[in-house]
């Protein structure tokens, strides 16, 4: 990998001389994309220089297969310079000769990723942190939804049709994942899908939708959100979808705060103030139920990859044992509990 990346960075950083990859470190044990921290050295004006980059490689199999990393790269490139805090991206590489699969290179953003998991019953954030980060959380979401995607050249993402087009398309997308994952019948999932089909709301706006907007997918530096991460589910759709996802019970556990950050009412109120858009609680509820179905679809896709022997990642097999939690989350979102 080091040799291939050295040749790649030598091309990209030309005319700098003596480009050499000095180290490659896998950055996380993420469930999805493969992310590496790459240290690069070169000579410039007779001085030794160094730079650090992040390489995100498209995985062969996993929770969101089939993968295509190019849309997220193009979105990240397009929103650079907007109020949305996101990593700067540099280059996209399709040639499998370099790292076997497509990848892109982006900047290293300083910070840590807080996880939405309470330890020993303690809150994830102090009240002061929670209030400050909660404000950043809503502000970034409102900024993302305010991006003029047509002007930014993001039509290629494909706008949904008017009316219930956004809801129908997302529902069909995740039903497709569930169908492809095959496996035995799962009645609680069917119950939710039947309700979703009957309850598709009409969107009053089409915006960029992050698709995985939550605590765990942003970097914090000096007490503020430094960058929103994990853009692989970016698409055009109903802005209420991101709110529904952020409100999913799985992201807050026992906490009364959505994503451990804000009360639901506060989230809605601040979003309305910052975006100028009305929050429709019924639409959010639809997307909250869809969020649990989407999580189930992701789990079943990973399980399918394991069953077929396309991944040796045992965490995928564990999803089978964790199904009870997912089923309970679906039942809870549907109001059955």
């Amino acid at each position: 990998m080091i040799d291939a990346l050295t040749a790649y960075f030598a091309r990209r950083l030309a005319p700098r001389a003596g480009v050499q990859v000095l180290g490659v470190t896998r950055m996380s044990e993420g469930f999805s994309q493969e992310t590496f921290r790459v240290e690069v050295g070169w000579r410039e004006h007779d001085r030794e220089e160094r730079g650090t980059y992040v390489v995100r490689r498209q995985p062969a199999a996993g929770l969101l297969e089939p993968y295509d990393t190019e849309p997220e790269f193009r979105v990240l490139a397009a929103i650079a310079g907007t109020a949305v805090r996101a990593p700067r991206v540099f280059w996209y590489e399709r040639d499998p000769a370099v790292l076997e699969r497509p990848f892109y290179v982006m900047e290293v953003v300083a910070g840590t990723v807080p996880l939405p998991v309470m330890v020993d019953g303690k809150p994830v954030f102090t009240d002061a942190e929670r209030i400050r980060l909660g404000e950043d959380f809503v502000a970034n979401l409102a900024a993302l939804h305010a991006v003029d995607w047509r002007a930014a050249g993001l039509d290629f993402l494909g706008a949904p049709s008017a009316g219930d087009g956004a809801a129908s398309r997302e529902l069909a997308r995740w039903e497709g994942y569930i169908d492809r994952a095959s496996g035995p019948p799962r009645p609680v999932l069917t119950e939710a899908l039947l309700w979703l089909r009957r309850s598709r709301p009409t969107a009053d706006a089409t915006t960029l939708v992050h698709g995985d907007y939550r605590t765990g997918n942003f970097l914090v530096h000096d007490g503020r959100i430094a960058a929103i991460l994990d853009w692989e589910m970016i698409h055009l759709g109903d802005p209420m979808e991101d709110l529904g996802w952020a409100c999913m019970a799985l992201w807050r556990g026992e906490s009364p705060y959505m994503c451990h950050l804000l009360e639901r009412e506060r989230l809605y109120a601040r979003y309305e103030e910052l975006s100028g858009q009305r929050v429709d609680p019924e639409r959010v509820r639809f997307y909250e139920v869809l969020a649990t179905v989407k999580m189930a679809a992701i789990m079943l896709t990973g399980l399918h990859a394991f069953r077929e022997g396309r991944t040796r990642d045992l965490r995928m097999a564990l999803f089978d044992h964790q199904w009870g939690y997912m089923a309970a989350a679906i039942a809870n979102a549907r109001g059955l509990l």
Binding site: F31, P187, Q322, L336, L337
Partner: protein, 157 residues
């Protein structure tokens, strides 16, 4: 739990052999990994999920379907009731436990589709209650048997 134990154990053995072993340098630790792989290879075809656990699930599903079919009958939805009963009978006809379980889950899915098709009928909300109760009970049974969820670690990336 739906994956056969043999599939899970074979996957564990394959991960140990192909991903863990190459990263283990210590001779004693390598010996333990080899031993673990051999143990797994020997037991994987000898284990199955506990029968009493599965039986509890199957009995709950059967009762919910029978109750729902009865309520449909009481509402005058005879064709729908017959469809649900037929699904239940077919599932009960399966002799092998796992096949019976899959058939009962299939019958539950079909019963939910029946309920959805008649969701505007008066009394349907009450009629479908046994099915919903079963779904909740099943989910809670699964939760109680499961270790702390990996699900909350998804947030790591």
């Amino acid at each position: 739990m739906r994956l056969p134990p043999a599939t899970v154990l074979a996957g564990v053995a394959r991960t140990l052999e192909e991903d863990v072993l190459p990263a283990v340098g210590d001779r004693a630790a390598r010996g333990l990994v080899f031993t673990a792989i051999e143990v797994l290879a020997n037991v994987q075809d000898l284990v199955e999920w506990r029968a009493d656990v599965r039986d509890e699930e199957l009995s709950g599903a059967s009762a919910a379907l029978a109750d729902f079919a009865g309520r449909l009958e009481a509402l005058g939805l005879h064709a729908e009731s017959a469809r649900v009963r037929a699904g239940l009978l077919a599932a009960k006809g399966e002799t092998e436990r796992e096949a019976r379980g899959r058939a009962l889950d299939g019958a539950l899915v079909d019963a939910l589709i029946v309920a959805d098709g008649a969701h505007d009928s008066p009394g349907m909300v009450e009629a479908v209650a046994p099915l919903r109760r079963h779904l909740v009970n099943q989910a809670l049974r699964d939760v109680m048997r499961t270790q702390r969820p990996l699900l909350n670690r998804i947030s790591q990336g």
